[in-house]
Amino acid sequence: MTTTTAASADSGERAVPKDSPGAARGPRRPGRIRRIALPYLLLLPALILELLVHLVPMVIGIFMSFKELTQFYIRDWGTAPWSGFDNYKVSVDFSAPVGKALLHSFLVTVGFTLLSVGLCWLIGTAAAIYMQDTFRGRGLLRALFLVPYALPVYAAVITWVFMFQHDNGLVNHVLHDQLHLTDKPSFWLIGDNSFYALLTVSVWKGWPFAFLIVMAGLQNIPGELYEAAALDGAGLWQQLRRITLPSLRPVNQVLVLVLFLWTFNDFNTPFVLFGRTAPEAADLISVHIYQASFVTWNFGTGSAMSVLLLLFLLVVTGVYLLLTSRGRKTADV
């Protein structure tokens, strides 16, 4: 409440002095104030909601991470003792079990994210490029490709759970019963294979987005470039390398970043796939943090881990943007 009033009062005050110099200019002034203030006023609800939905919970989370918020205190947060950096120390002490588990989960997540984003981008881009040529049924295929992206996450992932089941699942039926690729039915939802199950679902769910964005990007590349290149004797591969990919660069820059953030933070997919206790091989960090909070009922440590995750993602994003935009500047010069 205090934050919101402060924000609205603040913007109100700022709007007035800005326009006061114009006071001498005459009778048109009230109209001008309104015209200038109106956009800000219209933005106000969005700004306040943004504060409420994003920033306030984040600040509370950071606040919690400095408290010893265990089952003995959750009923009345005020009484929870301050614990300084203890929660952080526990989280990053990699020789102790909690820190070791967090590090393991972090590494699994990094590996998973790199593979998933890479595959999503590759499949999405390849499909978008193939879909550039006009042929019968192109519209239908495009629509079909977008289905995984449009499906509600829960419905889609629970279907995968059924398909991955050991006894009656479709995957084992095809791989084992029909193609005889394995000696005996494999487990996909427990044990080491769970990593591949998770990767499959994640790529299946993520690549249509890459497809959509790259397809939009391809529309902006002028056809004359290809014609000119073809006249100069460039093959398909060269056209792809010299024209398509460089032209897609700004699109890819955003696409890869967004895919990375979504995949790294993905909670729904592993949670629906494995329930609250994910197998070690597929112990993604978001579920791990959830589990750490609810296993020990120590929400302080859980918050500390979340803040560390936030910091890591901020650093990665910052470095990524710095590197990619610098690269572009030099390319432009």
Partner: protein, 438 residues
């Protein structure tokens, strides 16, 4: 111009509204009151075959209560997978129900949060006194030496359900009484795509319930007398290994059961894929899956040797549901009246019959309904050979960590890896390290 002004006014109003609703989120974390004496919110756990079944069972009773007391009860049946998290959230926000069902094993953990109304002598007096309840059920209502955090509502015990026809076909005359017999029978039954026993390998709570009993039979406990976790003693390791070995070494549980967590083993039993099942109050569930009452028999859970009793011959946990009152309810008197109603003899008979459980109220237990052969087994077990899970504040953490360790071991067994004393000990050690340090 007027339109702009209207738009601006609208924008400001929306902003203010959101700010106001944000204020509504916080709440008092203080004590309860009697501000709204005409309504109650009740969170019921899912006891019947489905949430709809539960609503049908409960609604007529709640109407009865409304007629008697003039208090309207709004019931919400919460699935087991959500119940504990919902209670934790309610505790944190202070926005909870007035009355709620809790799994009796959580009593001490939830007691530690201070969110539940303690049942001291004066509160118990309002519902007819502590003596109305069976001793073993009261043993699962909170930490020793503290006022109970809840009162018992339904009692249950584990039993061995066996398929009569499959037993007859395999030439087995009577249900096994010891684990050796169970394994021998299981081997006769495990053939042709059918298996001896079912298990819920990926359900941490089920894993805990079984390993707890095995530990008791090995003379071990998961917590020391002063409430410290002690997961790696020889007894507990042997207990966990014996349970997982039913799949790993004895091969009487189908490997696929390692990923079961949604009561698939009950469906398998109803369909005749498993000949035996260790379960609590399965009758109503089996009926809803089309298995008739005379198709299966109910026997006590096996022991290592001899007959079920106390000490190392314990063969079940004290399973059950407790009824608790949220401390910051706005209708404390009404909530207490509702608890009195739900634990009255008449309601106990109706509800426990509907859920095929045993009433924890002494006077209700004598009713003929609870003396059928099937119920006699459960009642006997509860009275003579059931033990309460540790009543310590860390109990729910223990359920998750050790339950998950057993899940991991089942996964290893299913994948064909060896399950050894060392690997069991390593998993349990990891579980113990995750327990909150004090």
């Amino acid at each position: 111009m007027r339109r702009i002004r209207a738009a601006a006014a609208g924008a400001v109003t929306v902003s203010l509204l959101t700010a106001v609703t944000a204020c509504g989120g916080g709440s008092s974390t203080g004590g309860g009151s009697n501000d709204s004496p005409k309504t109650l919110t009740y969170w019921a756990s899912n006891q019947g075959a489905s949430i709809e079944v539960d609503k049908k069972v409960l609604q007529p009773e709640l109407d009865k209560f409304e007629k008697q007391s003039g208090i309207k009860v709004k019931v919400e049946v919460v699935p087991w997978s959500d119940l504990l998290n919902r209670i934790l959230t309610a505790t944190t926000s202070g926005q909870g129900p007035d009355v709620l069902n809790i799994g009796n094993t959580w009593s001490a953990s939830l007691q530690a949060t201070g969110a539940l109304l303690p049942w001291d002598a004066s509160n118990f007096a309002k519902i007819g006194g502590k003596d109305r309840f069976v001793e073993s059920a009261l043993g699962s209502t909170g930490a020793q030496g503290k006022d109970p955090a809840a009162v018992p509502l339904y009692s249950m015990a584990y039993a061995l359900y066996y398929n009569k026809k499959m037993f007859a076909d395999a030439g087995i005359a009577k249900p096994p009484a010891t684990w050796d017999e169970l394994i021998a029978d299981g081997k006769k039954l495990s053939k042709g795509g059918k298996w001896g026993l079912g298990a819920e390998g990926s359900n941490p709570s089920e894993n805990i319930h079984h390993t707890f009993v095995f530990a008791k039979q090995h003379g071990a406990d998961f917590f020391t007398a002063d409430g410290k976790p002690d997961f790696t003693s020889d007894g507990t390791v042997a207990a966990v290994k014996q349970y997982v070995d039913l799949m790993a070494k004895d091969k009487i549980i189908a490997p696929g059961n390692a990923e079961y967590a949604q009561n698939q083993s009950v469906s398998d039993f109803a369909k005749g894929k498993n000949a035996m099942l260790l379960w609590q109050s399965a009758s109503a569930n089996l009926k809803s899956q089309g298995m008739s009452d005379d198709a299966y028999g109910i026997a006590p859970v096996p022991v290592q040797s001899g007959t079920p009793g106390t000490g190392t011959n314990v063969n079940s946990m004290v399973a059950g549901i407790n009824l608790a009152v949220f401390k910051n309810s706005h209708n404390l008197d009404g909530a207490t009246k509702f608890v009195k109603f739900m634990t009255s003899d008449a309601e106990q008979k109706i509800l426990n019959t509907a859920y095929s459980s045993i009433p924890p109220v002494k006077t209700a237990q004598t009713d003929a309904t609870f003396n059928t052969p099937a119920n006699a087994v459960l009642k006997d077990t509860l009275a003579k050979s059931a033990a309460a899970l540790p009543q310590v504040a860390d109990e729910s953490q223990f359920e998750t960590t050790v339950g998950t360790a057993v899940k991991t071991l089942f996964a290893a067994a299913a994948a064909g890896h060896a399950v050894t004393t060392e690997s069991v000990k390593a998993e349990l050690e990891k579980a113990q390290q995750q327990m909150p340090a004090k």
